[in-house]
Each structure stands twice: as structure tokens, then as C-alpha cells.
């Protein structure tokens, strides 16, 4: 069983990457965690050729939610949005240095990825 309160996870949560709203995002999306009511918003900058050029996020959450959103934010900028849509639980676990998240914290781990992917889908639906 992974220790979910390891020092590097706590540190990512305390000083998260890409925290803060973007002034003029291409698209924004918000998602909530149905198990606790945490809400995250992601502002995405997407180029004409479908690359995520920047990301900013806001909202509050538990350590896992914040740390996962932090490492995700640090990893997905510069990726093609189609590639981001194909990311899953294993990718976030790997970025966070976890073997496998416990079922009770799966939603916390994936809230950030869900909100980024929701923003990309909104963007694609508008095009």
C-alpha cells in the first residue's frame, strides 16, 4: 500500500505548480469530486494546431487532489490535446510516484485530469 502522505506529495500540495487562474484562457472547465464536494477549475490555453500551451488552475482540495493536479500541470503543457485525452490513472500515479492509488482516493487522484480533459472536450465541441 502506498504511503499517500509522503514528503514529496505533501510538498507538491503545499507549493503546487501552475496554481492560479489564467487571464484570457481559450477554455475553462470545472469539475467536482462527488465524494467530498471539492471543486477544481482549469483554464487552458490551446494553440490553433491543438497543443496545450499553458494551464492554470484554481479551487481547493485534499493533498492528493492538489498534488495530482500539480504534477499533471507540470507534465501536460506542450502536449497535443489528443494525447492528453488518452491519459489515464496510470499516468497520474506515475507522475506522483505511486504504485496504485487506493479505491477510496481514486477520485481525488483523477479530479485534475478529469477537469483538464473536460476543458479539452469543450474546446473540441466548439470547433
Amino acid at each position: 500500500m502506498d504511503d499517500l502522505l509522503q514528503a514529496h506529495i505533501l510538498e507538491q500540495s503545499r507549493s503546487p505548480q501552475k496554481f492560479g487562474a489564467l487571464p484570457t484562457p481559450t477554455v475553462s472547465a470545472t469539475q467536482n469530486n462527488v465524494s467530498c464536494g471539492d471543486v477544481l477549475t482549469a483554464d487552458l490555453m490551446i494553440s490553433e494546431d491543438g497543443v496545450l500551451t499553458d494551464l492554470g488552475w484554481s479551487g481547493d482540495g485534499c493533498t492528493i487532489t492538489r498534488a495530482a493536479m500539480s504534477v499533471l500541470s507540470g507534465s501536460v503543457c506542450g502536449m497535443k490535446i489528443e494525447d492528453i485525452l488518452s491519459l489515464g490513472q496510470k499516468d497520474v500515479e506515475q507522475w506522483l510516484g505511486l504504485t496504485e492509488i487506493s479505491p477510496g482516493r481514486r477520485r481525488c487522484l483523477l479530479l485534475g485530469l478529469m477537469v483538464v480533459q473536460a476543458g479539452i472536450r469543450q474546446h473540441l465541441a466548439k470547433k
Partner: protein
């Protein structure tokens, strides 16, 4: 007075170590653990008595039917109800939905008012909210004061409206532990409105205090077997007999077992309510298991169970209030010096500065299992600005030592989140 040492020996799961540490189970409001007497009753049913009920004339079917009927008798008696008033469901949620589809769909009309409360679990809120949308009714939600107690003046004012046809309210809040004083409130509601029906969600009261349906004077009472030491998958819906007799409460599931006669054109339903509301093969083993749980609690004595709970609740509140980061939620003091604390089953709180899931995670690493989240009371949480809260809840096997372990665990939370180091 309960014999804690003897009781602990009845619950094999409490000797397990799911995290490699002794299990301190403080999540009984989510589901209780099961004594070996219940586990053995279910095993014995499948090993010796299993056959379909009311279906065959062979010996095993007779044995199974006898078990089923005896179990129904035991459960009804436990709740001070007649067996004919007992409808077996899967859980509290299904029981409440049964009242929606079996009674309210035909009894309530556009313009009628349902009064409920902000304390409700989603199980006693969402079904009414959705019914209100379907049928053009009005839903009024009674507020609470700063201590988590219902604003009874507001409730009584609203139910006095002749358009109010139903009061749907919890007996004990699953989030705040608030005990709603039904013994005084229900007579006052009846005084204000003589045609109102009253639906009580007893999911969190039935496990901890004596329930006597006949004296309670509610029309419907719902609870879950799995919270009162019984198996998952079996719930209880008690319905006032007159509502069954005049067919105000109708079957909402149709099929085998619940009929009297079926022709190509028409079906008449079984005259006995017990059969009319049992469509298809029931979960006999779970009902037998729940009856064993009722027997177990009856031997302990529900008044003793209640007093044990009250001792633990008070002890938990007294200990938690000494933790500087803890903000207690719900009633923490009696209304006045002449009354007892109106709180049952749990102590809920916020740990300032640390998300509830993180607190629960750190406690779990110490072997302490508590609940974190919105506890299926999102309207209550949003109204009060809480994202997620923590709840330590108890049952007959809980001890003061468990609460001491919770308090020690909260010291560990402080260590992790102030220094950023954990030791697993």
C-alpha cells in the same frame, strides 16, 4: 451496562489488521460490523435450510418458509410493529423510494406541499425532490440552528398549512448526530395538521435506541439492517396498518409471489401485505441474518445499547474538544440543565487547516477508520460552507479505548501536516 470484553469476542473482524495495525473501527454509522451469531445464522440457512419460500410443498421449502416467517415476526417485534406492517426492502433508500412509488405517487397532487429538513441524508431528500419535480408539488426544507437542532417553530408553521400532506424527516442526523425529539414533535405536528402523513428515516436511530413503531405514531418508518449488526442488502419499511388496509399504500413492484389471481386481462394482488409487497424471490438468508441481529440486540437490551452509546458520545465530545484544531459540529451540550444531550451515535468535526480526506488518510495509517466527506448530506454541507467533514461513529463493540486511539491519531495528523513527514 454492556460487557465490552464479551461483545468484542463476538465480532471476528475486529481482531483483523487491515493496515497491519489493530483495527479501530469508528465508522459504524456507515455500516456496523456483524457478530458471529449473524454470520452463523446466514451460513446455517444456506447449509441447512435453503429453498424458495412459498413455492414448494417439499420439506425444505416448508423449513425455509417457516424460517422466513419467523424472521419477519422477530424483526417486526423488535420494532414494536405487527408483522403485517413490515415490508422488507434492500435498505433505507429503497424503503423511502417505496413510500414515494407506493403511496405518494397516487396520494399527492399538484399544489401539495412536502416538508422535509436540511438534516436529511440524500436518501430522504432526493426521492422527494424528484417527486416534487414530476408532480408539480412544493418542497419546503426546515433549517437548523447553530447547534444542528431543527427549527421546530418553522417546521410547525409549515406543516400547519392544509396543503402540507407529508412530513419526511430523519430521527437522527447521520452527519451531526442530532436526535430529533419525535416523541414531542409528532404530537405537535398532528395537532397542527390532522391529515398529514409522517415518514421517519430511522437509519441512524434504530441501531442505537429502542424503537416502538406503534407508540411513535409515524405513518412510515425506514431503516437498514446493515447498520444494526445485520447483513447488507436488507432493509425495513414499517407502514401504518390502516394505509395498507385501505390500499393507500400500493405495491410498487409486480411479479411472482405478490398476486392473488392473474388472467390475461387483469391481476388481483395478495390480500396479505407481507406477500403483496414481496415480488419475486426475497433475500431470505439476509432476513434470517437481520432477525439474528435483532435477537442479539434484544439480548443486550436496547436501553443498555442506548446508554452505552450515550457514554461514548459524551466521552468523544469531551476528548475532541481538547484538540485545538478540532471544531465540533452538531449538538455538544444539552438544551438546558434538565435535559440530556440530544445526540446519538457519532461525533462529527472539522480539523482546521487540513482537508477531511487527509485527516482520515493519516488516521487510517494509524489503524483508525473514520468517515470523511459530505456523508450524503450535500445540502447541509453547502448551506454551512463545509466542503467535507469528519465523523467518528460508534456501536455496541466500540470502547473508550477506541476514542483514545482517535485522539492519539489526531496528534499524528498534526505531526504530518505541520512538519510534512509521515512514518506510515
Amino acid at each position: 451496562m454492556l460487557d465490552s470484553i464479551k461483545i468484542l469476542q463476538d465480532f471476528p473482524i475486529l481482531a483483523t489488521k487491515p493496515r497491519g495495525k489493530s483495527l479501530i473501527y469508528l465508522d459504524s454509522a456507515a455500516t456496523s460490523q456483524k457478530p458471529r451469531q449473524v454470520i452463523e445464522a446466514i451460513t446455517q440457512y444456506y447449509q441447512q435450510h435453503n429453498a424458495n419460500v412459498h413455492r414448494g410443498v417439499h420439506a425444505l421449502s416448508d423449513i425455509s418458509t417457516t424460517e422466513w416467517e419467523a424472521a419477519r415476526q422477530e424483526i417486526a417485534s423488535f420494532f414494536g410493529a405487527r408483522p403485517s406492517e413490515l415490508i422488507i426492502t434492500r435498505n433505507t433508500t429503497e424503503a423511502i423510494n417505496g413510500v414515494v412509488y407506493g403511496w405518494a405517487e397516487s396520494a399527492l397532487q399538484a399544489g401539495d406541499i412536502i416538508v422535509t429538513t436540511i438534516l436529511e441524508h440524500h436518501a430522504n431528500f432526493v426521492p422527494w425532490q424528484q417527486l416534487v419535480k414530476r408532480k408539480g408539488l412544493e418542497l419546503k426544507v426546515v433549517e437548523i440552528d447553530e447547534y444542528g437542532r431543527l427549527k421546530q417553530d418553522q417546521l410547525l408553521e409549515w406543516v400547519a398549512d392544509p396543503r402540507c400532506k407529508l412530513l419526511a424527516l430523519t430521527h437522527v442526523s447521520n452527519t451531526l448526530g442530532t436526535l430529533v425529539p419525535l416523541e414531542t414533535l409528532i404530537p405537535a405536528v398532528r395537532e397542527a395538521n390532522d391529515h398529514i402523513k409522517i415518514m421517519v428515516d430511522g437509519a441512524q436511530s434504530a441501531p442505537h435506541m429502542p424503537i416502538h413503531f406503534a407508540s411513535l405514531d409515524a405513518d412510515f418508518f425506514a431503516c437498514s439492517g446493515h447498520k444494526l449488526l445485520g447483513p447488507m442488502g436488507v432493509g425495513v419499511l414499517l407502514v401504518r396498518e390502516s394505509l395498507l388496509a385501505d390500499n393507500s399504500m400500493k405495491p410498487w413492484l409486480f411479479g411472482g409471489g405478490m398476486i392473488s389471481e392473474v388472467t390475461l386481462e387483469e391481476t388481483t394482488f395478495h390480500p396479505d401485505a407481507a406477500d403483496r409487497f414481496t415480488a419475486g424471490t426475497p433475500d431470505v438468508a439476509s432476513v434470517v441474518g437481520l432477525a439474528a441481529a435483532c435477537r442479539y440486540l434484544r439480548v443486550l437490551g436496547m436501553q443498555n445499547v442506548f446508554e452505552h452509546d450515550q457514554e461514548l458520545v459524551q466521552y468523544a465530545l469531551d476528548k475532541l474538544v481538547t484538540v485545538p484544531e478540532v471544531q465540533l459540529l452538531g449538538p455538544t451540550q444539552p438544551i438546558n440543565s434538565e435535559q440530556k444531550l440530544d445526540r446519538i451515535g457519532s461525533a462529527s468535526f472539522i480539523y482546521q487547516g487540513v482537508h477531511a480526506h487527509d485527516v482520515a488518510q493519516a488516521l487510517d495509517s494509524q489503524g483508525v477508520a473514520v468517515r470523511s466527506g459530505h456523508h450524503c448530506t450535500m445540502p447541509l454541507h453547502v448551506t454551512h460552507g463545509w466542503t467535507a467533514t469528519l465523523r467518528a461513529s460508534f456501536h455496541v463493540y466500540s470502547t473508550k479505548t477506541d476514542i483514545d486511539a482517535l485522539i492519539a491519531g489526531l496528534s499524528y495528523v498534526r505531526q504530518v501536516f505541520s512538519t510534512g513527514t509521515s512514518n506510515g
